[in-house]
C-alpha cells in the first residue's frame, strides 16, 4: 500500500498528464460541439507538453539559464545543476504548433458555422443527410 502511494506521489506529473490527455481525448471523441472539440484538442496537446516538460525536471536544479557575470567566478558549468533545456525547446515548438493548429481549426469552425448555422455535429450531419 505504501509503495503504491509513493508510486502515485512520485509520478504525480505523469498521472496528471495521462488524466489530461484522456480528458482531451474524450472531449475530442465524445463531445458534440465543434468548439468543445477544439478545446479538447488543445488540452490534449498541452498534456503532451506536460509530459515532455516533466521529463526534463531535475530535483534540486535550477532553471536552465547559466549564471554568469562578474560576480560569479568563471567555473565549469555542471549540467546536474541546471534543468534539462532540451524538452523546453521542443515544447516551445509544440506550443507554437498548437497555437497554429488552434487558429486554423477555429477558422474552419467559423466556416462550418456559416454554412450550417450550427456548431453541433449531430445537427450538421442531420442537415447534410436532409439535403
Amino acid at each position: 500500500m505504501e509503495e503504491f502511494l509513493s508510486l502515485i506521489i512520485e509520478k504525480y506529473n505523469y498521472w496528471i498528464y495521462i488524466t489530461l490527455m484522456m480528458i482531451g481525448l474524450y472531449a475530442m471523441i465524445a463531445k458534440n460541439n465543434l468548439v468543445k472539440k477544439i478545446v479538447g484538442m488543445n488540452i490534449f496537446q498541452t498534456a503532451v507538453i506536460l509530459f515532455y516538460v516533466s521529463t526534463g525536471v531535475k530535483k534540486g536544479a535550477t532553471i536552465p539559464i547559466i549564471e554568469h557575470g562578474h560576480d560569479v567566478a568563471h567555473q565549469a558549468v555542471r549540467a546536474a545543476d541546471y534543468i534539462n533545456p532540451l524538452p523546453h525547446v521542443l515544447m516551445l515548438t509544440a506550443i507554437v504548433v498548437s497555437v497554429a493548429t488552434l487558429g486554423v481549426a477555429l477558422a474552419i469552425a467559423i466556416k462550418v458555422y456559416h454554412r450550417y448555422l450550427s456548431l453541433e455535429e449531430d445537427e450538421i450531419l442531420e442537415q447534410i443527410r436532409g439535403l
Binding site: 481525448l25 475530442m28 465543434l34 472539440k37 484538442m41 490534449f44 496537446q45 503532451v48 509530459f51 515532455y52 521529463t55 532540451l86 524538452p87 521542443l90 515548438t93 509544440a94 504548433v97 497554429a100 493548429t101 486554423v104 481549426a105 477558422a107 474552419i108 469552425a109 466556416k111 462550418v112 454554412r115 450550417y116 450538421i124 447534410i128
Partner: protein
Amino acid sequence: MSEHYPALLVILPLLASFFISAAGWLRPVYCFPLAVAALGSSLLVSLGVLGDVISGGPVSYWMGGWPPPWGIYYRVDYLNALVLAVVSAVGFVNLIAARPSVEKDFPEKAGPFYTLYVLFVTGLLGMVATGDAFNLYVLLEIAAITGYALIALGKGRAALSSLHYVFLGTIGACFYLLGVGYLYIITGSLNMEDIARLLPPLYDSKVVTVAFAILMVGVWLKMGFFPLHAWLPNAYTYAPSPVSSLVAPLMTKVMVYVMIRMVLTVFTVDFAFLVLRLNEVVVWLAVIAIVMGSLLALAEKDVKRMLTFIVVAEVGYMVGGFWLGNQAGFTGAVLHILNDALMTLCLFLAVGNIVHVKGDSRWESLPGLFRTMPWTMGALVVGALSIIGVPPTCGFFSKWYLLLGAIQGGHYGFLLALLFSSLVSVVLFFRIFEIGFFEPFGASHGSAHGEGGPAIQEAPLGMLVPLWMTALGLILVGLYTGEIVGRVIRHAVPGMML
C-alpha cells in the same frame, strides 16, 4: 554545391513560398511561375540526390554544422532518396495541372494557395529527408496544417471534413510526439540512429513497447489505416480537385514511409519482428484494411469518393507488405509507395479534369464521357489498369512483389486479400467505364458515320499534359521496375530480411 543537396531540397521551396506569399500581395501574376520554379528546382535537386545516393551511397548533412546527437541532421539513403524523388515529382506535376482549376475556382486566392501548396510539399520533403525524430514532427505539422487549409478550401462538406481531419490529425501527431517523448525519456536522444544505437539493452522495458505502440497508432491515424481511416474519405472527396490530387497521393504514402523509417531505423527490425512479434497481427489488420477498403469502395456512387476508399485499401497493401517481414514484401511495399503515388495521382488528376469540366464527379456526370473527354478517360483507364494490376503498368509489379512476399511468408490471407481487392477494383472501374461508355444508351447509335456525336469538350491542355505524363510514367516506371529495384530498393532492404 552537391554536398548541400539535402538541405537545398527543403530550403528552396521554403524560400520560394515566402516569395510567393509576398508576390500574392504585390504581383499576383508571379505566384505560379515562382511555384513552378520552386518545385522544379526541388525536383532537380531530389533527382540529384538520388543520383548521388545511387552512385555514392547514403548522404547526410548537418544542419548548423552541429554533429548529430546534438544538432539536427538530414540523412538520405536508398529508401528515402526514392521517396523524395516521388514526392517532388508528384508535387511538380500536379502543380502544373492545378493551374486551370485554381484560376477557375478561386482566382483571387492564388497567392496563398500556391504558398500553402509549396509549403505542403516542403513539409513532406522534409519529413522524408530528416534524420531527427522531433524535426519530423514539426514538418509533419507543416504538412498537416497546410493540408487542413487546402482541404477546407473545397465546397460543400469540405470544411466539416477538414475539421474532422484536424482532430484526428492532431491526435495522430500528438501520439507520434508522445511516442518520441517516450523514446526520449529512456534514451535521452532524438536522433533516429542514435536512438537505435541506445535502444537494444532496453528492449525488455515496457516503455519501448508502449512507445512503439503509440507511435504506430499515431502514424496509422495519419495514413488512414483501416480502423483509423474515418477522416480520409470525406476529406479527400470534398477537397478541391487540385488539392485532393496532391494530398491523396502524397500524404498517406509519406506516412507509410515514416512508419517504415520508424521501424527500420529507430526501433530496428529486430525489435519489431523478433521481440514484439507483431507482424502477424499487423498483417491481418492490413488484410482487413484491404478487404474493407475495397468493399466500402463498392458502395460509393461518386468516383472521387470511390478513389478515396481505394486509397484506404492501398494503404493496407503497403502496411501489410512491409509487415510481412521478408525481402519481397518489403520491396513490394516500397515499390508500392512509388507506384501508388503515381497511380493515385493519375486517377485523381483524371477525376480532377472531369470535375473541372462537369463540375462534379458523381455518376450522374459520367455518361458519355468517353466521347466528350476521350483523353481524360484514356488516362483514367491507364490508371485503373494500374490499380487493378495489369502489366506492364507499374501497379502489376508492386503487386507481384507483394504476392511473392505473401507466398514467401506463407501468409495466404494477405494473398487472398490482394487478389480480392484487385478483383473488386476491376468491378469498380468497369462500372465507371460502362457508365462513361454506354450511357446514354445508344444515343449516337446509327448516326451517319458514327463520328457525329456530341462535340469533344476536353479539359484544358494544361491539365491534360500532366495527366498523360503521369499515365505514361505509370508504364515507364513499370518497365523500369527492375532498374529501380536493383539499384535502389535492393540496397534499402534491411539485413535481417534478406
